[in-house]
Symmetry: C2
Subunit: 177 residues, 2 copies
């Protein structure tokens, strides 16, 4: 039983991930570019170093990636007011539109996949997903990356956020002792 569940669940995750990645790349962006847009949509004013960390790319590669996205008019670079070394990144208007489109397509894909379930089944799946997801998170950076393609504005009671707050609270308790 267990092995069969593992395979089925793994296959499902793979299938969904394939479809989602296909969505977000449907605008002529390579995966790393699409993910950068995802991150910048959620966390504007990132630096190149932070972005490099978030998308698991070398700094140099991220510099070029940013240059490409800037050339295509999706992001804007500006100098930091407080630190002359830092370049602040932000989605342009076109970039924000692209990001919204990415999230819309992803949401639609997921909706289609999940609408075969009844209301009760959806509730159950939400509960189970939340539980598994919570256990899967390694640290704050990982949590941030896992949410990189989410549609955050509509994510009520985000399980990732909840889990991280729970841990932070536990951490605070520990440090008080």
């Amino acid at each position: 039983m267990t092995a069969a569940l593992e395979n089925a669940f793994g296959a499902l995750a793979l299938a969904l991930s394939d479809d989602i990645h296909a969505c977000i790349q449907s605008n002529g962006l390579v995966p790393s570019e699409a993910e950068a847009v995802g991150h910048l949509g959620h966390a504007p004013d990132m630096t190149i170093t932070h972005l490099a960390d978030a998308i698991s790319l070398s700094h140099a590669a991220t510099v070029r990636l940013v240059a490409r996205l800037e050339d295509r008019g999706f992001i804007e670079r500006s100098a930091s007011q407080t630190d002359g070394r830092i370049v602040v990144l932000r989605l342009s208007e076109n970039g924000a539109e692209l990001h919204a489109s990415q999230m819309r397509q992803r949401q639609e894909k997921l909706r289609t996949a999940l609408e075969t379930l009844s209301e009760d089944e959806q509730d159950m799946l939400a509960k189970l997903s939340t539980k598994v997801l919570g256990e899967l998170l390694r640290d704050e950076n990982h949590a941030f990356r896992v949410c990189r393609l989410c549609n955050r504005p509509v994510c009520e009671n985000c399980p990732v956020e909840t889990e991280m707050m729970k841990r932070e609270a536990a951490q605070n308790w520990l440090s008080v002792e």
Copy 2:
């Protein structure tokens, strides 16, 4: 509620897919190479054209990919007995070992993620996953690709197989009319 489920489930799929891909690339293989090994582990005697189709790569790129894997001793190429144009691909002993290792790591990753659920919850998740997965399959080729990283020998009552058989049966009924 629905939107939150969509996000949580999408994030979970992404997190698992990330981890699984990290597993299968932990042997110095690029993603396409790792997937080729996965396919050949399940379906020996594929041709280059079939493999190219399975991993969504151009024929030319697949020729080079196969050459790389052959150089590294993971696959063997042999001429077809019946068709002089065809190159038959098969995992070498080392390749089979690599494939087994990939599946082991993936299985372990999934097991860890799912062991936080109770027995009942696992049964429920298996049922829901199967239902969603069945709806997600587009055609036979897609089904084949979705299973590309599965540990097939231990996949009892494979939901993908079941779904495709169901469809084939339906197809036969139609053609009889």
